[in-house]
Amino acid sequence: MKYNYKIYARALVSALDETQDLAQKEKIIKNFLFLVQKNKDVRQLKKIIDFASKIIYKKEGRQRIILETARPQNNLKNLFQKFFNEKDIIEEKINPNILAGLRIVFDDEKELDFSFKKRLELLN
């Protein structure tokens, strides 16, 4: 690991900010991926992209909201869309560890936990 994933993410966002041209942006991303591969940091790629997305969302005043459930649910996004801004990115994620219920995570920073696991923990 040559650099920390946060350094990569900030560098990528900064480079992308410098141009509005989509072709140029595509080129920057390709070069960036090449650099990561060259530095043998491919394993950090997911973290880098997540953190870069977070920076971009923040700049644009958007939130990344993850709705975690233990099983697939119907119309979950639609049910919750009305409570958030239209610009917010809402994602669904299956997490069997929560056992049942729902966990809402905002920008990986704060959460609203309505999971069954949380209820069990409260009993401890």
């Binding site: 219920g101 069954f116 401890n124």
Partner: protein, 170 residues
């Protein structure tokens, strides 16, 4: 008179000779013995007087000794009485202290017993509470296994309600 002297058988010559002898003896005694006897008598008198004085002195001393003895006995009695009172007082103090200590110890033991009792009660309560929680957990898990979708529905509805409430507050 002559007749009476004759009747009594007194011989003048013999009487004179005897008188002379008596005087001679008297002079000899006066010169050689009287002073010696007088001296001896004086010495004896002196000795007796000295003896009497000494005896009186001894008696006086004896009386003094007796008085001193009585005084000492009184003093000793007084001292013994004081000692007795003092030791009695000390014994009372020691007794009071012992009682006080015993009371303190008793209070301490009672406090400890109270703490132990409270702890036992608390432990029992905790155990009961823990058992209840475990039972509740087991029931909840059983329910989860039986109807996971129903629990999902309830908890998701709860989340929706909570978000609605938050939105209304804003």
């Amino acid at each position: 008179m002559k007749e009476l002297i004759e009747a009594l058988g007194i011989d003048w010559k013999l009487l004179l000779a005897q008188t002379f002898n008596f005087l001679v003896v008297l002079i000899i005694l006066r010169v050689f013995v009287y002073d010696q006897i007088l001296k001896v008598l004086k010495e004896r008198k002196k000795k007796i007087e000295e003896g009497i004085v000494k005896s009186e002195e001894a008696e006086k001393r004896l009386k003094e000794i007796e008085n001193l003895k009585l005084e000492k006995i009184k003093e000793a009695e007084k001292e013994a009485k004081e000692l007795f009172l003092d030791s009695e007082k000390k014994a009372r103090e020691v007794e009071e202290q012992m009682l006080l200590k015993a009371k303190e110890k008793e209070n301490e033991i009672l406090a400890q017993a109270e703490i132990i009792s409270q702890n036992k009660i608390k432990e029992s309560e905790n155990l009961a509470y823990q058992n209840l929680k475990n039972l509740l957990k087991a029931s909840m898990l059983q329910l989860l296994n039986l109807k996971p979708e129903a629990i999902d529905e309830v908890l998701i509805s709860e989340a929706v309600e909570s978000l609605k409430k938050q939105k209304n507050e804003i």
